[in-house]
Symmetry: C2
Subunit: 389 residues, 2 copies
């Protein structure tokens, strides 16, 4: 989810961007390096079926940290991501028996890991998609923000989100009569039905699952049909082992043609929620700005970047573009609160989302505001130059 083409139709530009900014995903035995002797280190060698390279290395650490790590660490295995563009790495320690599920579908590598604090973790092609601990942050915001911007959402289209979490949140709204869920990879759905509590979303009679390409589905969708469309897709591009980028299944969901099809498929007061990325990665923020401008060109009257906090995604911050055909349509806060209270009374409360996010999620750091909505450069472009060593 951290890779977006800034100019999907200009592949040369895109390739240059990508080579500068990729986030490499690492599944490594991080803490093997902290053990005090070679013999011990050898004992703790870990392998996953995706690992193909084994290397020896010299690692140094402080005595105190070393001591503490040895006393308390529960596992040598982590699921981690490295963001080369900003030199940032983060990882979550997983249990020794991880991954508890691992297979290659027609489209991607699917893994389920377990961890003490974050619970189960779904990993697709090496990228963390969700954890039981904090998947509510992303999925509740992706679902309820657009649903609550519409007066009475009856027909909903969800593209991607094969884990079922967004669909299960959409179904909490009693106005919903029909949900079309379009997911390319049926194996992801099957894995989530087995491993995650929200894997029951598809049992609801209001949901029709379409195992197909989201772009083709949108092209053929009836015009003006949906009140809300939520695009919760995975990365459009990847790289082969020589560092060349290649299209992933989701690439078609990032063309201007596809966005125009989404606009056409929405009713006259329709709302689109479009997954974006973190403002902490300069090129992701660049992309968010470009996508926002494209969405306005296409005809949306408003397109705003909403922010959420989620520690299992690198840098702990993630965003979405909430787009409305008619700016100012939808209920006021009092009405949103009434609908939310009604959900809670029916035993369908959220854990992250609350009604005040309908305004508060769009409150951004000043420099992000100025860059996205103004003509300012990103913060620290001078800092970067100063530090080009």
């Amino acid at each position: 989810c951290l890779l977006r083409p800034s100019q999907p139709l200009q592949r040369d530009h895109f390739f240059l961007t990508m080579t500068m900014r990729f986030c490499a995903v690492l599944l490594i035995s991080l803490f093997g390096g902290f053990l005090p002797s070679v013999a011990l280190a050898d004992d703790t060698t870990t392998t996953t079926t995706t690992t193909t390279t084994t290397t020896a290395a010299t690692t140094t650490t402080t005595t105190r940290a070393n001591q503490l790590i040895q006393n308390t660490r529960s596992s040598n295995k982590v699921v981690g991501e490295f963001l080369d563009e900003i030199g940032f790495y983060q990882s979550i320690t997983v249990t020794e028996d991880s991954p508890i599920y691992q297979a290659r579908s027609k489209y991607q590598d699917i893994e389920v890991h377990t961890s003490h604090h974050y619970g189960k973790i779904l990993v697709l092609d090496g990228v963390t998609q969700l954890t039981e601990r904090d998947a509510d942050a992303y999925n509740e915001m992706m679902a309820h923000m657009p649903m609550m911007e519409h007066m009475e959402p009856k027909r909903v289209l969800v593209i991607g989100g094969g884990d079922g979490y967004v669909v299960s949140e959409v179904l909490k709204h009693p106005s919903v009569e029909h949900v079309d869920h379009v997911e390319l990879d049926e194996d992801v759905i099957k894995v989530c039905q087995t491993h995650f509590s929200w894997g029951k979303a598809w049992d609801d009679p209001r949901v029709t699952l379409h195992v197909t390409d989201g772009a083709a589905f949108a092209r053929n969708a009836p015009k003006g049909y949906y009140d809300v469309i939520i695009q919760d897709s995975s990365d459009p591009f990847g790289w082969d082992e020589d560092g060349n980028e290649f299209e992933l299944p989701s690439a078609v969901l990032y063309t201007k043609e596809h966005l125009e099809n989404l606009y056409q498929a929405l009713s006259s007061d329709g709302v689109l929620n479009f997954q974006t990325d973190t403002y902490n990665l300069p090129h992701d923020l660049e992309d968010a700005k470009e996508w926002r401008e494209k969405l306005l060109e296409i005809g949306f009257e408003s397109s705003r970047y909403g922010s959420l906090s989620i520690s299992s995604y690198p840098t702990g911050q993630f965003g979405f573009l909430l787009c409305k055909k008619i700016n100012g349509s939808g209920p006021n806060l009092a009405e949103v609160e009434r609908r939310f209270d009604d959900m809670v009374e029916r035993g369908l409360s959220t854990t992250y989302y609350q009604p005040k996010f309908q305004e508060g999620a769009f409150l951004l750091p000043l420099w992000v505001d100025k860059y996205l909505y103004g003509t300012h450069e990103q913060k620290g472009s001078k800092l970067n130059m100063k530090n080009e060593l």
Copy 2:
């Protein structure tokens, strides 16, 4: 900044808490492990003067990630932190010549590192205090949030914050007549005067620097004198090499007696901003709740947890408790905006803070709200049990 005693006067309880939750700080050559041969790995062995243990280890990784890391990584050195309680690690890659400054003061190890994206990084006793890239998030929110909650802040006390950033933000307010800045470690001030742009704060004639213990200063402060007090302190406790905890200089800033002294030193409509930690660490959130309740017991009419986004602090989220002697005192949003516009006109704009945070910073994930202000348990306490493997 990630360690807080939940019961500072009950050391047994505190010790138990700490042993479960410490965040061990690691300065390691993380990416040495990704090189393809032993010979190459040996070539890239890195040392810092704080490292005392050298070990060999076996590391596995995916071919693709390995390839990309080798193509693009600029350094083998990182500054990182491991949060044992949640099995979370994050690091920032620093340049090969890091640290560019390193010394032991009377109280702590002081280091300055450099990095391509985050700029210079100040590290005290192995814990990242600030980076040039995103120190604005923490320091602007610590300073302007309480300043803007007071009608006309004239006299300000800043405890800790030896880097000078909070003081330099406080000075942007034209109503300020006098700032007492209390910092224990003069060497931190000297290092920041040399290495960081906000190290000029102490040249302002309105600032009086007191190199002394903040608790003693507060005990002797004139009653009712300060309009705003900002406590920007470092960790109260550490561990020795046998894993036993010991008091750090800041421990005295976390007793109920000290908080009462702060309350007494504030004017009748005074405002306190008190550094707290992330809600992503269960024990830090527990502490925030306990501190909040203590502050209300002492006499503050309101104490609210404000949130900010900062990727260089582990999990990317951090917080503070904003406490007011009189709930509802202070300017309305229009007046805050007028004062802010005035700052901007005088060329003293912020980069992270904007006036709407006076309300928006207190909008939290629903589960955090329910835990801090209600009687609910933290989210996922059941999740934790389910995953106690």
